[in-house]
Symmetry: C2
């Protein structure tokens, strides 16, 4: 009889998949702070602003964080089937829009610096209550927008020489403990990978594709 | 006025995306050799074989190669719009089934050794006419099959403790020149990434997801 359990890492094979430590949600503290003013720009105004920015500084570069946690608490009774399954942290704004934490890279700023700045402003109490530094890992993928309002592609579409936006996804590794503080008018959610996969309608192309981008990792659930 | 071209790599930022050298299809020689006998096993026989193998040696492990080339020849007139767009090498068998080159890992064999063996047998003249060694790079993703005939997932689905199959995708980097020799009854195709993306119906989940897995690379087209 052979071994029927999930095999261990292919010992010594340098090309084998990478392990990623993830921690239970119960390791983290979640709090809220004052609401931030929401963007009430009309679609036409937004397009005008994007065009003006493009003329001034060229392609818009954005970064986004892929942060994975796990449920291991036995109290998580409602969905026991998701016990030990990896979950992705998402921000929900205006009750329907899901976003990876992140934002636009400033001129001259590195992707890493931008992502740390955005994580500090969106998931922490801000510069004052600075927690441990954010650990920005490898780039997992890029999505291109050939025109200001076009759909996103995971490649530069043929014959597009002047794309208008590029969003890079980076893996952000959490320490065993951290405080998350989000504005009262946004929600921080942990959504199981199995709910995101192929769920393009609810989460859009970037988020619904994250399970695939993470598939090379062997998740190592650390229980403190 | 800002720079409107595609920006260069984020110099010095260690987390920025990775460059991948790819070469024009015209760098490679494509030939054919005798047909190989096709698998004529019935679905019921296949299931019996998979079950017997699982009982004997546990989960089936497979590896598959992601090989990227580019069209830069001006003679490629029919689809000029795909000029310089990356293409994925696929094997087509029985006129409808598309596959990444690869196969099943033997007991005790490393993923890398298996993939080199499979590339040698499927894309070369075999052990005799050995060309340059195949350069197996990083693991790009993994797909799991919870049961023998179930669909594939880019994660281990919740509560599946005894998956029946795991397929790992590896990037294989081509040298500036190489001979590809495939059996007469299979075809080696170069399909543009833009044709694969979201084309689940034609190519299945693994191949249609490859553009996303490759999206972190900046392709560097080398013209010899």
């Amino acid at each position: 009889m052979g071994d029927h359990s999930i095999p261990e890492e292919n010992g010594g094979d340098p090309s084998s998949s990478t392990a990623l430590d993830i921690y239970p949600l119960s390791c983290y503290y979640f709090g809220s702070r004052d609401s931030v003013s929401l963007n009430t720009e009309t679609r036409a105004d937004r397009l005008l602003r994007l065009r003006a920015n493009y003329d001034a500084v060229g392609m818009r570069s954005c970064v986004a964080a892929v942060i994975v946690v796990v449920f291991v608490s036995q109290n998580y009774l409602l969905q026991v089937e998701l016990f030990k399954h990896p979950h992705l942290l998402l921000l929900q704004v205006q009750n329907s829009i899901y976003r990876l934490p992140g934002g636009r890279v400033r001129q001259g700023e590195s992707d890493t610096d931008c992502l740390k700045r955005k994580l500090e402003s969106k998931l922490s109490a801000g510069e004052d209550g600075r927690g441990p530094d954010w650990e920005v890992g490898e780039c997992l993928g890029m999505w291109w927008r050939p025109d200001f309002e076009s759909v996103l592609y995971p490649y530069l579409p043929p014959n597009i020489k002047r794309p208008k936006e590029c969003t890079k996804l980076y893996l952000v590794k959490l320490p065993p403990s951290r405080r998350f503080i989000v504005p009262k008018n946004s929600r921080l959610l942990a959504i199981p990978l199995c709910q995101l996969h192929e769920n393009y309608e609810t989460y859009g192309p970037i988020i619904s594709g994250v399970p695939q981008l993470l598939s090379k990792y062997s998740f190592n659930m650390v229980e403190p």
